[in-house]
């Protein structure tokens, strides 16, 4: 611990913005950040760019929401009960992903696979509910080409659905990697990225169900 004391005295007391030496990792005095923190930060930046894509789709939907071209309005086609079930599925999925994070930290193979399976099944239920909604709209002739409103709607909600589908494939590979390769640090970092991705999709869904579906039923 003598080296620790010397680190404290060496740290620059006149550094701006910090009271005393900052010995957290990644902050000069504490040495470089861990690979896990760096990987998490890089993936966080990716998620933020992804959220900007969603912001563009939200903006185009908001602009086009009234342009129904004589077709159905939001109020006529949105089914709040189905949206409630979709929301419940995705929230449960996000929670199960959190349980999987704890199981991975405990290095418990059975609990990890079980939690990931629950994550995947609830996510799959969400996708099935959403595709049944899209199929029903298409069957009524209310496809994406019917009006600008429906184009914006299908693009925004469909883009989220594609993300969830890709996430399900990623989830499958994570289960296989934990099973075949065990709890190696690099697999753990991949799973960190997956769990961030999965929770992020739930955040986007909160915006979709509130601002597209629920607001749509009241305008």
């Amino acid at each position: 611990m003598s080296t620790a004391d010397s680190t404290i005295t060496i740290a620059d007391p006149f550094r701006l913005g910090h009271r005393g030496p900052n010995l957290a990792r990644g902050h000069g005095g504490g040495g470089p950040a861990t690979k896990r923190v760096v990987v998490g930060y890089g993936f966080w930046l990716f998620l933020l760019t992804d959220i900007i894509i969603f912001a563009c789709l939200f903006a185009s939907y908001a602009v086009l929401a009234q342009a129904t071209a004589g077709g159905p309005t939001a109020k006529q086609i949105f089914d709040t009960d189905r949206v409630a079930w979709e929301t419940a599925c995705l929230l449960a999925s996000s929670f199960c992903c959190g349980l999987a994070t704890i199981a991975v930290a405990k290095r418990d193979q059975f609990l990890t696979q079980l939690a990931l399976l629950a994550t995947g099944l609830t996510g799959l239920a969400f996708i099935l509910l959403e595709s049944s909604e899209f199929a029903a709209l298409n069957a009524q002739g209310y496809g994406p080409s019917r009006s600008a409103f429906l184009t914006g709607f299908f693009t925004l909600v469909g883009c989220h659905g594609v993300h969830v589908t890709a996430g399900l494939l990623w989830l499958g590979t994570m289960m296989a990697q934990f099973y075949a390769k065990g709890f190696r640090p690099d697999i753990g970092r991949r799973f960190l990225c997956f769990s961030m991705f999965w929770h992020f999709l739930d955040v986007v869904w909160v915006a979709i169900f509130s601002l597209v579906y629920l607001v749509g039923t009241r305008l």
Binding site: G26, I51, I52, A59, A105, P185, F209
Partner: protein, 130 residues
């Protein structure tokens, strides 16, 4: 955070893993609390959308507020965004991302709204083309 020579321990860096089991229980509590709060806010959102107790033009703003609150819950309890020192970069990146998101959404809606206001009604355009 204890200070020790960090250069040589990059191999076993999984500092938040394999800890004591009461730490895992604390994580479980965090996720459970997040789930309860998110469920509560979701139920509130659906109630606000259905009820007629709230002044009608205020409903979209109420829903937006509930959505922002729930996204905050998700960020803190599920994505573990904190004010810890190793999270300051993430917070700054999030702030910049939110700036861009705000510019894109409010800018688009603002501009397109004004364009719609200034546009000649469709019937007049048809008249002029005759």
């Amino acid at each position: 955070m204890t200070a020790h020579a960090h250069g040589d321990d990059l191999e076993h860096e999984e500092d938040d893993r394999g800890g004591a089991s009461d730490e895992h229980m604390a994580h479980l509590g965090t996720y459970a609390l997040g789930l309860v709060l998110a469920t509560g806010l979701t139920i509130a959102s659906f109630w606000v959308a259905k009820t007629h107790l709230i002044y009608d033009p205020g409903v979209p703003m109420a829903l937006a507020t509930l959505a922002v609150a729930q996204m905050g819950i998700h960020l803190v309890f599920f994505l573990h965004l904190t004010t810890a020192p190793d999270n300051t970069n993430n917070i700054l990146a999030l702030a910049f991302g939110l700036l861009i998101v705000g510019l894109v959404i409010f800018g688009s809606v603002w501009i397109m709204d004004h364009l719609n206001h200034n546009m000649m009604p469709m019937q007049q355009i048809m008249q002029m083309q005759r």
